[in-house]
Amino acid sequence: MTQTQQPAALPAAGYTDFRRRRSVGSTLRRAGALARRNKLGAVGVILVLLILFVAIFSPLIKRYDDTESFQTANPDFNPTANPFEIAANPGLASPYILDRWESPLGSDHWLGTDQFGRDIYSRIVVGARLAVLIGVGASLIAVISGSIVGLVSGYFGGKIDLVIQRFVDAIQAFPGLVLLMLIVSIMDRPSLTLMIVALGFLGFATSVRIVRSSVLGVSQAAFVEAARSYGATDIRIMLQHVLPNILAPILVVFSISIGAYILAEASLSFLGLGPADKTTWGKMVNAGRVALDLHPWESVISGAAITLAVLGFNLAGDAIRDELDPRLRGR
């Protein structure tokens, strides 16, 4: 019985095969090592995972509907009271009283209730989904549109580049919030989609800048020269040779700006320009201001939620940048 022995294919020295399957254990070990090296990054990743969990499972973990007003039977209710008695004591008129401004932990409502007797915990949970949707959605739009335009601008250079860069200058010459206010006002009752597109448009300028400068660095490389010499078309060079080499900065821009979009959306919602009919954290901070001295909880809790979400995405984004492209530090 003869068996032909196939020589095992040996990987060349220094060659890492990224397609190799890693065992779960080794992946966890690597993650653990990373976390030890970058503790803040680990905190960020944990916060992001927590927020993603809340956002994904919000219908399951919210305890009540975010718009439901809680009320209790009014012990003083007197259906036979005449108008004079009601004028003297308005408490007689309605069969129910709203459970307004309940304090956290004091009742069935974990984080208390707001001025309309709505459960703050449930509203925070519902707001988390919106924040994630807006942050990730806007960042996706910004990065995809910014990469296409940045690629064209950096690769072709010349007049196209000049015009695109002045357009980008113009967007950045607007104070961001003003541009957002203007775009969002296009609809009398801004929709969630419009909100995401507006934020994405604002981030488009930054993405173009960073992608363009990365393209400038890559397009002088020898392999681009080589591709051009064997007659590859511009589109082919851009997609096959330049794009794969700038994926790292693109991913960094994507992850690092999510927090900023959540922050910007909160500012708009706070000013009353947020997505109509949706429960957002920014709106909650603003709503809580009506009784800030006596019942600060709604503002404080929703403000803390914004801060934690932005903090998580920022720290995780920083960690991704440090791993992938430390040169972008300080941008």
Partner: protein, 319 residues
């Protein structure tokens, strides 16, 4: 150098023209205009279409868009920022009344921004990895993540809870008319704006300081026996400030955004609140004018920053 400045000024004109066009397109894409808002608030009859149409005619909003655009550009070229549809006052007059207030608050915010971020950034770098550094970094990371209005709310709560002082919401005190009332009015927005603006600078400055302190010229300075404080300030800080200057345009833009929120929150009659209220009233000429003035300031700051580079870092030469 002169050529460079001229070229940049021309490019800035191009940028401002883009901004003007963007804001023109933006405002005219809005579904409601001032005529509708005015008719809706004053006219109670059944059919408003006729009233809206006549209001548009009266305000000149019925002209073809292209003509409005050309007129708008013509006015801009003459330095005319338009007239408010509501008060019939020129935008320059409206701005003139509010610019002092905004500059007052704005310069306090800028002062707090740098008074917080420069020392904290330097100390953080000098005490790298000690508990001082760690807590200062925690503060800066939190400062970046906190919305400016939340900082302001927390500060207000602090003031209210400990009855530190009472904020007089009536009247518009200035530092030069009623210093005490003005300080009380401005202290919360100024600190909030300063924390939000300074947190990012703090982080950039810290990492730059660490970078610079590793350079050869710092070792040379040490070797010639210079005093530590002189090295930190003259040799390190000056070089570490370059990237901070780079983001100056963004910082100003952030402070403008912060001023819109803070002035609206604290009822301060400045340019920020004016801008927001003009958009809400769909009173576009003053809105467009104010946006253009802000954009002009931002592009000018950016140009000034690029020019100061050459002054701070003699290796940079513009041709």
């Amino acid at each position: 150098m002169t050529n460079y400045i001229i070229r940049r000024l021309l490019l800035n004109l191009l940028v401002l023209w883009f901004v003007a066009s963007l804001v023109f397109i933006g405002t005219h894409a809005l579904p409601s205009d001032f005529a509708q808002k005015r008719v809706a608030s004053t006219f109670t009859g059944q059919d408003q279409t006729e009233a809206i149409a006549s209001a548009r005619r009266e305000l000149g909003l019925d002209k073809p868009l292209a003509r409005q655009y050309v007129e708008f550009m013509g006015e801009l070229a003459r330095g005319d920022l338009g007239t408010s549809l509501e008060t019939q006052e020129s935008t320059w007059a409206e701005l003139g009344r509010r610019v002092p207030t905004t500059l007052e608050l704005g310069s306090i915010i800028v002062f707090v921004t740098f008074a917080l971020s420069i020392p904290i950034g330097v100390i953080s770098a000098a005490k790298q990895n000690t508990w001082i550094d760690l807590s200062l970094r925690a503060v800066s990371i939190l400062g970046v993540a906190m919305p400016v209005f939340f900082v302001a709310i927390l500060l207000s709560l602090l003031v209210v809870r400990f009855s530190l002082f009472e904020i007089d919401v009536v009247g518009h005190p200035h530092l030069w008319t009623d210093p005490e009332a003005a300080v009380k009015l401005y202290v919360i927005p100024a600190i909030a704006g300063g924390i939000s603006g300074g947190a990012g600078i703090m982080r950039i400055l810290r990492s730059q300081m660490l970078e610079v302190m590793r350079q050869d010229y710092i070792r040379t300075a040490r070797a010639k026996g210079l005093h530590d404080s002189r090295i930190w300030v003259r040799h390190a800080l000056k070089n570490a400030m370059l990237p901070v200057l780079t983001v100056m345009g963004l910082t100003i833009s952030g402070i403008v955004g912060g001023q819109i929120i803070l002035e609206t929150m604290f009822n301060i009659d400045g340019v920020g609140r004016f801008l927001f209220s003009r958009l809400n009233a769909r009173d576009f000429p003053p809105f467009q004018g104010t946006v253009l003035v802000t954009a002009f300031i931002i592009v000018t700051v950016n140009l000034a920053v690029d020019l100061t580079y050459a002054w701070i870092d003699p290796r940079i030469r513009y041709t």
